[in-house]
Symmetry: D2
Subunit: 142 residues, 4 copies
Amino acid sequence: MRAAFNFSHPLRVRWAECDAQGIVFNGNYFLYFDVAMGEWLRALGFEPATTIEFFTVRAEADYKAPAKFDDMLDVAARCARLGEKSMTLKFAVFRGEDLLTEGALTYVHADLSTRKSTPIPKEFIDRVLAFERTAPERKSAS
Amino acid sequence: MRAAFNFSHPLRVRWAECDAQGIVFNGNYFLYFDVAMGEWLRALGFEPATTIEFFTVRAEADYKAPAKFDDMLDVAARCARLGEKSMTLKFAVFRGEDLLTEGALTYVHADLSTRKSTPIPKEFIDRVLAFERTAPERKSAS
Amino acid sequence: MRAAFNFSHPLRVRWAECDAQGIVFNGNYFLYFDVAMGEWLRALGFEPATTIEFFTVRAEADYKAPAKFDDMLDVAARCARLGEKSMTLKFAVFRGEDLLTEGALTYVHADLSTRKSTPIPKEFIDRVLAFERTAPERKSAS
Amino acid sequence: MRAAFNFSHPLRVRWAECDAQGIVFNGNYFLYFDVAMGEWLRALGFEPATTIEFFTVRAEADYKAPAKFDDMLDVAARCARLGEKSMTLKFAVFRGEDLLTEGALTYVHADLSTRKSTPIPKEFIDRVLAFERTAPERKSAS
């Protein structure tokens, strides 16, 4: 499973991210996915602060085992689908060899002022295709 | 769509929940779902603080329109599936008549110390079935 | 102590706001103060979403007793100092009669684009003075 | 100022930590301080996950300049006061040479089950004194 990813970002679990059960609150994994998305952009050669022209339209996560305070995690990210105006990134959170959480975020490329979807720039597509070890599907969201 | 829900909880968007795009950060809707789950438990006659014997195993959300700072939202919740050891709640976030976000959380009932799944108590099932306007599916997660 | 405040806002502690000690994470009280500030603005007759022309320059809190998940809190707020370009709000978090946390936030009124401090508008000052039970100090920050 | 600190921890500003003004929400600096406290413990040779026997009793921050999304920060931490049962850590957040925020957290050493304050263990005191470049004050909180 890990072999499908060409990118991962290390992350240490913060105290405030854990809930009263002593484990990372389920919603905070989407924070981790978001951090990994930014670092994946950077790995592709983009500046996260100026490339955020994507709106999130779908989020999902499957929780397999909990992460605890101070755990050192590895958040893997890859583009699993690259459509004309949208894309889906898949994420996997590992602690050592253990897969703790899997998830996905689907983004629509959009003009930030009008919120209208616009085609993903060719340069972005080219860099993604050159970067990913596992080729993303090339279709639009159904 | 709203008619399917027998419960909703009002919520005002906080400043810190909005991101630099000026809209609620996608991961924070899972915070809203979690709040609504607790209030749904209370509406069923349970004390949220002593009924949290559920682990979240799956989360999903579809974002249709953004919520902004100070928006008054209504977070609807209902049990859509009630299995032997797990259940799925569906959520819908409204601003007035507008549906902003839909989502679902799947929980496994478990012994909090061993983390082993255990059957959902009969009293819980009875109250859910008596409460929900739309009858939940009665099957286990596939 | 409570008598000094002319305003308070009820708030229920969320699961995700508690940390692995089972109590509200210390930093989250500043979230509560921020919510109370917005509601205090509303009580004064302002729209929080269009009146946020204040930058926070100082924050402080004294923690006396912890709040736990699902606690119903009352966050009192009052303007304790009203200078020409800055003001200090004091906050007190109560659970029933128990004072859990006290704090303060100091804001500078500023042009949001240039971040230059500007005088607090007379209308704002008039409404604060008319609203507060305990008259704020009328001096600038030292 | 930076010279007073023997420890700092690098941190990148996350998207979700920024508010609708596009800058780090004031309360989130206490999250940064908390992270730095844990890493400072680690630098002293302690395991943060098993050394959290401190309750926060006071927090303060002075905001001088805002941090923005994706900024690379350095959060410096040092023990500024080491009493019999409590201590105060000072923090300073830098972006390059710029000091953005200063702050402090005061902790009481306590038995986590009874919440009664207990003397800070001698080993902890010894390590702090050996570690800090600037000797902490040796007095209890007034």
